[in-house]
């Protein structure tokens, strides 16, 4: 106990610990598994869940209306062929990135502070990808023909058009979704076994038993588990970079001023991580408060995530600066027109709001006090999420609504159905998240026990 308070071997003394003192294996197991097995149906959970599922209901209504009436219920128009649909798609995909980054890259980099947050960050990834995936599927004019996007043997003898980034997207997203799900699930297996063993209710026992895939915790199991997990981490790592790179190709490959930019891949990846970490913070700050998990998700975690955000924010800021520079350096009237229009045109509010949210306000994170203030971090995380949404709005809408030929310039106004769909997917996401914290260990029990061992005895 004493040792925990003294500086540890790796000299992270100025920082709070990654695990609060006093957690034994038993305490960890009990604390986390109880959330799933013996939940107190708090008013908070019920209230949150009802709001979330109501919003998800809105989404269902919006989708049914969309399928029966057509994408014309949205505000998309000529020339703004993509708007909320693709903004939200990119936004959600971006959010997902933090999960993969935390679980895979930080695992490979042996950042032990990731342990307490990786489980729900991964869950967040999967749910975000689910929300994201809805948009490209539904935004097409004839969603019932979406399966044509997939290469399947067909009597028409028609192939996909492999030059289209949209098709690369299909592969990128579906790969991402399946690898993330697999990664998450493999990581869950030992914990599901714990739940199986501890569950009292027969049905819960049965379900957890099935999901645990016969895990017995033998050394052989652990060995294979470790290898599988590492392999999946290795597979996921390039995906962190590739998915958003490919999403950015949707824009970079086109010739629309504001889209046709080589900086997009890194800039999109940084933006994705930025928004992902913001979303992790937005979720974990209330979560640790509500379930008393401050011992697991400590101020150290928040501090680290704030630092990542700050760094990513600066990369994104560099991206914005380069866009401005290239608009001038290109010498093209279209590029310059695009930039001037973005910053001074009728939709300039969105650009300046974006700069405020993504660049100006997060600079407060240079201050340790800001990074240590849970409330301020929460506010910043929300601000960055808004900012990143605005970034996609700026990229997509303000590039499209005024492009090359002024005669076809036309403004864009979202409709109530755009908002219904957007808030609907937020509801859908939260619904999944509420179910997740109710039925699945939100923090990896196995890894926490390992961490506790490491913290106790140092890393070997």
């Amino acid at each position: 106990m004493e040792r925990l308070q003294s500086p540890d071997a790796r000299g992270i003394a100025p920082n709070p610990p990654v695990l609060a003192k006093g957690y034994t294996y038993d305490a960890i197991t009990e604390k986390i598994s109880d959330l799933s097995l013996n939940p107190k149906l708090t008013k908070g959970w019920l209230g949150g869940f009802s709001i979330a599922i109501t919003l998800a209901g809105c989404m269902v209504v919006a989708i049914v209306h969309l399928l029966f009436t057509g994408v014309g219920i949205w505000g998309n128009n000529q020339p703004v062929g993509w708007a909320f649909d693709i903004i939200n798609f990119v936004w959600w995909i971006g959010i997902g990135h933090a999960g993969t980054l935390i679980s895979a890259i930080l695992l490979l980099l042996k950042q032990n502070w990731r342990t307490s947050i990786n489980r729900f960050a991964e869950a967040m990834t999967i749910f975000a990808v689910a929300c994201a995936g809805l948009y490209p599927l539904l935004h097409t004019g004839r969603p019932w023909l979406d399966y044509w996007l997939f290469p399947f043997p067909n009597s028409m003898g028609v192939q996909q058009q492999f030059r289209s980034p949209l098709l690369w997207d299909v592969f990128a997203i579906s790969t991402y979704a399946s690898v993330s799900t697999l990664f998450w699930f493999v990581g869950l297996i030992p914990d599901l076994a714990v739940l199986r063993d501890r569950a009292v209710k027969p049905l819960a026992r049965k379900i957890y038993a099935i999901l645990a895939l016969g895990w017995r915790g033998s050394a052989q199991h652990w060995r294979r588990y470790r290898i599988a997990y590492l392999v999946l981490a290795g597979l996921s790592t390039p995906l962190v970079l590739s998915v958003h790179t490919i999403v950015s190709f949707d824009f970079a490959e086109s010739l629309i001023p504001g889209w046709h930019t080589t900086i997009f891949p890194p800039y999109f990846v940084a933006g994705a991580i930025y928004s992902g970490f913001a979303m992790v913070l937005s979720l974990c700050i209330p979560l640790r408060k509500a379930y008393g998990l401050e011992g697991f998700i400590t101020a150290r975690h928040l501090n680290n995530m704030a630092k990542v955000m700050l760094a990513m924010g600066l990369v994104v800021g560099y991206g914005y600066a380069m866009e401005a520079f290239m608009a001038w350096y290109s010498g093209s009237p279209h590029e310059m027109g695009m930039f001037i229009n973005r910053t001074t045109g009728p939709m300039a509010w969105s650009y300046w709001a974006l700069i405020a949210c993504n660049i100006v306000i997060p600079q407060t994170l240079w201050l340790r006090r800001a990074r240590r203030s849970t409330l301020w971090l929460f506010i910043i995380s929300i601000v960055v999420n808004v900012g990143m949404w605005l970034e996609r709005f700026v990229i997509i809408v303000t590039s499209l609504y005024r492009d090359f030929i002024p005669s076809s310039w036309h403004t864009y106004v979202p409709t109530i159905w755009d908002f219904a769909m957007f808030f609907g997917t937020i509801g859908f996401f939260l619904t999944l998240f509420f179910l997740f914290i109710r039925y699945v260990p939100v923090i990896s029990i196995a890894e926490m026990r390992e961490l506790s061992h490491e913290v106790e005895h140092g890393h070997h």
Binding site: N76, G81, G141, V158, Q160, R163, S164, F404, I405, T411
Partner: protein, 1041 residues
């Protein structure tokens, strides 16, 4: 009501004797036998009417199901119906006469569309008996193969489900038989009274047969009175001729011989009758390719911006009074006898410094090769002045041709209508028969037509729509569309066309000829017989169509309405004495040979100048007055086309407004009065007011505002009702075109106006290239030297084209933004109408759009037009981004859209730098209305929701030409494929063809040093290119020109 119908029909079908008879018959006998056995009245009616009662229910979506039930029943009898309706009249195909109807192979029939007293000769495409597309008749003098947008849209008028479908008696459904019975008694009474108390009100009549029928009618009822009224009529033109020459003459212009043109507020390129021909002639003098290396020069004075002003080399925007003063100043400077400058104003004085002297010098330098044109809306005095100027410049007989009037009975129609009103007030009108027209909507507001009309004992209205006038009438008789009826009509030069029907009437309508015949006591004559009988009477050489007519404004003369129609046909149709042969030839060629009116040279009245000056002085020209100018809507004209969605949705040429009208004012006037676009102002004239939204219109003269007629209909149909503001409400008989000293005050309301183009500036980008003729003459390559195109390198392999490679060149010098191409494309390619809301959402579906840019000073901006279709890029950005390969590069270079494969990601549209792709965001195509199904071009896929579409270069036309060429084992010849836009273009601005063929017109056009590709630096290598717009300003007026 609906149930009643059903039971009555069921009864007819269950008629025991009917089924009994059926049981005993088989095969051919079966059909013939049916007719014989049909004796019950219900059954008879059913056979006669083709569709059972209640067929009109298909208008009502709720009733549609009911209708389908009825339709099922009537299907059993469809064969009989068709037999009964089979027209016995022969119709002759124009270009190709197929041995039989070949499905998928259209036939073309020559006919003509009469409008506002002038006919345009047409060839109408017919697919298995359904007319689907209107084209101009290349041999017809008013068309030369082109048409305007309105003519293009007339096909939608034919299939308009809101067209009147049945005879109405006091707004209740009746039949022609009941009308004939009812009117028979009246006819007896009229004959007895020699027609006293019987009044007829017609539109301008240019059908010789109808004119003859009217003559006969007036002979039957000698005391009857014939009134005429056309809301957007040419009273000023008539009275101007009268003032100048003491007689009515028809004035036609030969712009193909005019090198200098002075337009006094004349919109001869769009709204003036004859504009299609005028546009062709005008643009023929503005070509820099081929032999001709010169251009005409157009000077335009105008108050309200028009497309003519927009293409003018020198345009001056003046208030209406100043236009007159400036015209007089020009007349005086030209030394026209008896003309001295009238009044002055700062604006005219400013023009007097350089503009007028240069114009005068130019005109004088081109004696006999120039022309002065006065607008239809200008006062008779201005017309008289224009006649005098043309006479003084020696233009008569060269660029100005006078003939006898084309219309049958020229008169001052405003006075004619006023006289009718006067007669009603004095109780002399017992019966009023309105033969065409919609005076309850269009009559001058001060005449209170609707109110007075209802004082008449018996009111009969014949019209194509159950409109405002029909509603107030005791009897409404549905008139057939011109594509459904036999008739004849004269073009502006007098050439007669026989109007032959393309289809039997869709509904229970009759041509006007038959209605007049019923009124004349011969109810059984068919239009075919009437028209033929008239022409069979032709023995002699062409006779003048008119004799002396009443003086303008003389209401008593108008009241007496002398019928100035000579007996006997106006021309002989027989060829070598053989009528049948001549008749066939006339039908085949679309016109009667040699029926053009001979030119005449009327002499100027000595006292015209005094009369004109007096008339001018009578119009007060207060310095700070706000004048209201009434103009026909460029697309809806006087409002008769309000229910045609194509014309409502096609953006008006200059404002790009759709589905509305507005008070057009100059930005300066708006600022001065504190108005903004979309503010609603109350415009008042003589105690009449109307509330109308403001539209700031660059180039409009200050101190006046323009209102377009034709909007605000209340009974036009589902499409046109309550669209825009009815400005007839403040149009009075003394001020049909210009309400001087009107009032206008801002209200607190706002009204949303929708346009297809919200941005007017080119933002300094290289979009429309333009220069002057002088620059071009000095250095042909001046444009190429000004714009260095970058070398384009591509990662992709170059396409190679062994056979044809289709391409298009659009001459920006020629385009007048008349919209004909837009509507022609809509008709050819089954493009849906989306409505005001959807246009506001940016979802208009037109495949070709005409961009309009302003440049320079808002008071006198330069205006540029640029038609934009799919560019069919060689390196098409849309093709590479479609994930499913729904838009692909064809082997002849077309950028092809595979609707079946499209899933609607819209990526192609986002990536199109020209933004020419159109997406079916909703189900825009009306798949329910049965008549629209008949209207559609069977060669073009009807698109459903969720599919991207765009210009295909009329690939269906390419393919049909390919079939012909393959049969003969050759390449497609130049000119064999003409896209719909190119075919209709009155100025021949669009050239289409095979660019692999170096001899093709399009390849030659693309070789011109003026040729350029839009956004060439993107490397898209568009197949559609543009020819730099050239102007020909007077070097004295424009430096560097």
């Amino acid at each position: 009501m609906q149930n009643d119908n059903q039971t009555s029909n069921r009864k007819a079908l269950d008629n025991p004797s009917f089924t009994e008879h059926l049981a005993n018959k088989t095969g051919r006998q079966y059909w013939r036998g049916l007719e014989e056995i049909a004796e019950t009245t219900e059954f008879r009616e059913m056979v006669d009417r083709e569709f059972p009662e209640g067929a009109s229910e298909w208008l009502d979506p709720v009733g549609r199901r009911n209708f389908l039930k009825l339709m099922g029943a009537s299907l059993a009898l469809a064969g009989i119906g068709a037999c009964a309706k089979q027209p016995e009249e022969k119709i002759i195909p124009y270009v190709k006469q197929p041995e039989e109807f070949v499905p998928g192979k259209p036939s073309f029939f020559a006919t003509a569309m009469p409008l506002r007293g002038y006919a345009t000769g047409l060839l109408v495409e017919s697919h298995l008996g359904r007319p689907t597309k209107v084209e101009g008749n290349p041999d017809h003098p008013a068309s030369l193969g082109a048409t305007d947008a309105i003519t293009q849209a007339s096909i939608l008028g034919l299939y308009d489900p809101d067209r009147s479908q049945t005879v109405l008696s006091r707004s209740r459904i009746a039949s022609w038989d009941s009308f004939k019975t009812a009117i028979a008694a009246e006819v007896g009474a009229w004959k007895a009274a020699q027609g006293t108390g019987l009044h007829f009100l017609t539109e301008t009549i240019n059908s010789p047969t109808l004119a003859d029928q009217m003559r006969q009618l007036m002979a039957t009822y000698p005391n009857a009175v014939w009134h005429q009224y056309e809301p957007a009529g040419r009273d000023c033109v008539r009275d101007g001729a009268k003032m100048a020459f003491g007689q009515y003459v028809e004035t036609t212009y030969r712009f193909d011989k005019a090198e200098v043109i002075f337009s006094i507020d004349a919109d001869f390129l769009l709204t003036m009758p004859g504009s299609v021909r005028y546009s062709r002639d005008f643009s023929a003098m503005r070509r820099t390719s081929g032999e001709m290396k010169g251009m005409n020069r157009l000077y335009a004075l105008e108050s309200s911006p028009s497309v003519t002003g927009a293409v003018a080399d020198h345009r001056a925007a003046l208030a209406p009074a100043a236009v007159e003063q400036a015209a007089w100043a020009v007349g005086a400077a030209l030394g026209v006898p008896g003309v001295s400058a009238q009044g002055s104003s700062p604006a005219v004085d400013a023009l007097g410094k350089a503009w007028i002297p240069s114009l005068v010098k130019d005109l004088q330098a081109h004696r006999g090769r120039c022309v002065v044109v006065a607008g239809d809306e200008q006062s008779p005095a201005v017309h008289a002045l224009a006649h005098a100027m043309n006479a003084a410049l020696g233009n008569v007989g060269t660029t100005v041709v006078y003939t006898d009037p084309v219309e049958a009975n020229p008169t001052n129609q405003a006075a004619s209508l006023a006289a009718l009103m006067q007669q009603i007030d004095s109780g002399k009108v017992d019966t009023l028969v309105v033969l065409g027209g919609n005076p309850a909507f269009t009559a001058p507001a001060d005449l209170k037509f609707a109110e007075r009309y209802q004082k008449v004992r018996l009111r009969i209205h014949a019209g194509e729509y159950n409109d405002e006038t029909a509603y107030l009438s005791h009897w409404h008789l549905p008139l057939s569309h011109y594509l459904e009826s036999w008739s004849d009509a004269r073009a502006m030069d007098g050439t007669v066309s026989i109007v032959q029907p393309l289809i039997a009437p869709l509904w229970d309508s009759k041509p006007l000829h038959e209605v007049v015949s019923i009124l004349n006591g011969t109810p059984s004559a068919t239009a075919y017989d009437i028209v033929r009988a008239y022409w069979q009477g032709a023995k002699s050489a062409p006779a003048p169509a008119s004799a002396a007519a009443p003086a303008p404004g003389d209401s008593t003369a108008a009241h007496a309405a002398p019928v100035a129609v000579s007996a006997g046909p106006v021309a002989s149709i027989a060829v070598n004495g053989d009528f049948e042969r001549g008749w066939h030839q006339a039908l085949y060629r679309g016109m009667v040979a040699g029926s053009a009116l001979p030119p005449k040279s009327p002499t100027l009245n000595g006292g015209w100048a005094t009369a004109a000056a007096a008339m001018l002085a009578a119009t007060p020209a207060a310095a700070d007055a706000f004048d209201i100018l009434f103009r026909v809507d460029p697309m809806l004209l006087d409002g008769r086309f309000a229910n045609i969605g194509w014309l409502q949705e096609v953006p008006k040429p200059l404002t790009k407004l759709v589905w509305d009208n507005a008070l057009l004012v100059s930005p300066a006037t708006a600022k001065q009065r504190g108005w903004k676009t979309e503010d609603v102002v109350e415009v008042g004239y003589k105690n009449l007011t109307v509330k109308v939204p403001v539209w700031e219109m660059p180039g409009h003269a200050d101190g006046c505002g323009t209102l377009y007629l034709g909007h605000g209909r209340t009974r036009s149909g589902r499409v046109g009702n309550d669209v825009g503001v009815n400005v007839y409400a403040i149009r009075t008989s003394d001020a049909p075109w210009r309400a001087a000293a009107a009032t206008a005050s801002k209200t607190s309301d706002c009204y949303r106006l929708v346009t297809t183009q919200t941005h007017y500036s080119m933002e300094g980008r290289d979009i429309v290239r333009y220069g002057t003729l002088a620059e071009f003459m000095a250095n042909e390559k001046f444009m190429e030297e000004r714009h260095h195109e970058p070398e384009i390198v591509s990662l992709y392999k170059e396409h190679t084209y062994k056979g044809h490679a289709w391409g298009m060149a659009i001459d920006l010098t020629a385009c007048t933004a008349c919209n004909a191409c837009v509507v022609a494309c809509q008709s050819e390619n089954n493009i849906p109408v989306v409505g005001k809301e959807q246009v506001n959402n940016g979802r208009a579906m037109h495949w070709i759009r005409i961009d309009r840019y302003y440049e320079g000073d808002a008071a006198a901006p330069a205006q540029h037009f640029q038609p934009l279709t799919c560019m069919h890029c060689e390196k098409a950005p849309c093709e590479t981004v479609c994930p499913v390969g729904a838009t692909v590069h064809g082997e002849e270079g077309l950028n092809e859209m595979v609707y079946n494969r499209c899933i609607g990601t819209r990526y192609c549209s986002n990536n199109c730098p020209y933004k020419v792709r159109r997406f079916n965001y909703l189900l825009f195509t009306d798949l329910d209305t049965p008549t629209y199904k008949m209207m559609r071009n069977p060669d073009v896929t009807v698109r459903s929701r969720g599919v991207m579409e765009k210009c295909t270069y009329c690939v269906q036309r390419i393919n049909s030409a390919r079939i012909e060429a393959k049969k003969e084992g050759r390449m497609i010849r130049d000119g064999e494929v003409v896209t719909a836009c190119a075919q209709v273009c009155p100025t021949e601005a669009i050239t289409f063809g095979n660019i692999n063929d170096k001899e093709s017109r399009v390849a030659k056009a693309k070789k011109s040093p003026l040729n350029y590709a839009l956004l060439a630096d993107l490397g898209t290598a568009p197949r559609t290119t543009y020819l730099t717009k050239l102007r020909n300003p007077n070097p004295e007026l424009e430096k560097g020109a």
